[in-house]
């Protein structure tokens, strides 16, 4: 019995959905049945044009995320190892941390145009914060004993960075990644919903506007699976790279 408990909740939710869809109390526009959503999903996956939309969204999310990862890790490590840089940059990051960067999007549209670039720039900006903050926290708190013993044994600064600081910081970097990856997906979908002519977020809004609720929910399922798969990819990579440390991810 207890083995099925994890699926109980999901099963009940799906059963209620199907019952609501079949009861006829609501229009199928409100509750399209699971079979119809599934049909739309198959249609989505079998068509090249819709798969292309998914690729467009994925490209934007990964592009912005990759830029943020490179810049964020560099900034975070430099901030963690240099008190002067930390004193200069930390107020900038912590001061604007709680400000919704999404509000900059209209200005980004004017600066970078309405295409992919403005969206990638916003993804970059939103992903930068968690990565910088976590990397900074990790690089700052590298155990002194390890640094001192490496110095005593005659390691150069570059060797210390490569052999001590970076391995000690990697778990934190991945914690930052796990926050940043869903953020990248969120920002891409939101910006595509607000202003775009392509991508999954646009498909959601377009299906809604044409009252195709079943198609809209199929796209939602695709977005959900993508978000889940990206998170799983980060976890897999983390477990391969830092097998010596098991971490639960939560917000600090």
């Amino acid at each position: 019995m207890s083995r099925f408990l994890p699926f109980l909740f999901v099963g009940i939710a799906l059963a209620i959905w199907e019952a609501a869809a079949r009861s006829g109390l609501w229009s199928p526009l409100l509750f399209p049945s699971l079979t119809r959503i599934f049909k739309e999903l198959v249609l989505f996956l079998s068509s090249g044009t819709t798969l292309l939309e998914a690729w467009v969204s994925l490209e934007r999310a990964l592009g912005g995320f990759a830029l943020a990862a490179v810049v964020g890790i560099l900034l975070g490590i430099v901030m963690g190892r240099s008190r002067l840089v930390a004193a200069l940059l930390d107020p900038l990051f912590s001061g604007t941390y709680a400000v919704p960067k999404l509000a900059l999007f209209p200005i980004f549209i004017f600066v970078f145009g309405i295409g992919s670039l403005s969206k990638i720039a916003l993804v970059f900006l939103e992903c930068l914060y968690p990565i910088v903050i976590m990397t900074y926290a990790g690089a700052r708190d590298v155990s002194r004993a390890l640094l001192w013993s490496a110095q005593n044994m005659g390691a150069s600064r570059a060797a210390i960075l490569r052999r001590v600081v970076i391995p000690a910081t990697t778990p934190f970097i991945f914690a930052g990644f796990r926050v940043a990856v869903p953020v990248a997906m969120i920002v891409v979908v939101i910006t595509e919903m607000i202003s775009s002519a392509d991508g999954l977020g646009y498909l959601v809004i377009y299906s809604l506007a044409s009252l195709k609720t079943d198609r809209m929910l199929a796209v939602v399922v695709v977005i959900a699976v993508l978000g889940y798969a990206l998170d799983k990819a980060v976890v897999l990579l983390r477990d391969r790279l830092i097998y010596w440390e098991k971490l639960d991810t939560y917000y600090v």
């Binding site: 909740f9 200069l88 900038l92 977020g201 809004i205 929910l217 796209v219 889940y228």
Partner: protein
């Protein structure tokens, strides 16, 4: 140190202002212009109406989502059967961008405030649930054992041991979910609303009123910053016994 802190910010603003003197595109206003427009807007009722509309959506959503997240997260951390029933569904849907549910919520609950409040609540639920859950799980076993050994009831153990040791993490997640509530509120208003700061920036964008765009931006920035400060203040007040991080 304090000088260096303010220094970076002042340097950025100075560079920006200098760049504006050299000539910037018309959609990038100088800091002084933005300040002047913002002070001007403070004198009109429009800004306050939009702020009130926005807060009327984000705060109830934040309160509902965080309260539910904390309650269910604590319950899942304490009760094993509840954990096994609910947690897989939560962790499975956690990396999914919740904003995609907005169109469905609009169909179910109408295009008014209710659908927006519920989508904000949904987004705020996850971080608080996860931190409350791990907060409970990280309670030191030895503390629970000693409390039980000294004859505390299960409720007393929860109230006096588990809850205090989970609360720092719950507060940490409240900062995240408050920031999230502003983001989702802004997004929902930009997608579909007749009032609020997100609506204001949309209108400004469409009519090329760059001044209004920056006024809305500054307003949301101040709200986000002030809200974050408030949560941190409440944290340090309520959990004064905790070592400052």
């Amino acid at each position: 140190m304090a000088l260096a802190k303010a220094g970076a910010l002042i340097a950025v603003l100075l560079l920006w202002q200098l760049a504006a003197l050299r000539g910037l595109p018309e959609y990038v206003l100088s800091p002084l212009q933005i300040a002047r427009f913002f002070v001007q807007a403070l004198g009109s009722a429009e800004l306050y109406e939009n702020i009130a509309a926005s807060l009327g959506r984000s705060l109830p959503g934040f309160a509902i989502g965080s309260a539910l997240g904390a309650a269910l997260g604590l319950a899942a951390g304490v009760a094993r059967w509840f954990d096994r029933m609910l947690s897989p569904a939560v962790f499975l849907t956690y990396p999914v961008p919740k904003i995609v549910m907005l169109p469905i919520f609009m169909i179910w609950f109408g295009i008014g405030d209710l659908s927006k409040i519920l989508i904000i609540a949904l987004a705020c639920f996850y971080p608080v649930f996860i931190n409350a859950y791990y907060g409970v799980r990280q309670t030191r076993t030895i503390l629970v054992w000693s409390a039980l050994g000294m004859g505390a009831s299960r409720w007393e153990v929860f109230r006096r041991v588990v809850l205090p040791s989970a609360s720092p993490m719950i507060f940490a997640s409240l900062r995240v979910s408050l920031a999230l509530s502003f983001i989702v509120m802004f997004a929902a208003e930009m997608i579909n609303a007749r009032s609020g700061l997100g609506h204001m920036i949309r209108i400004a964008e469409n009519s090329l009123r760059f001044d209004l765009m920056y006024v809305s931006l500054v307003a949301i920035a101040i709200l986000g910053y002030a809200g974050d400060r408030l949560v941190r203040f409440a944290h340090s007040r309520l959990l004064a016994w905790q070592q400052p991080a």
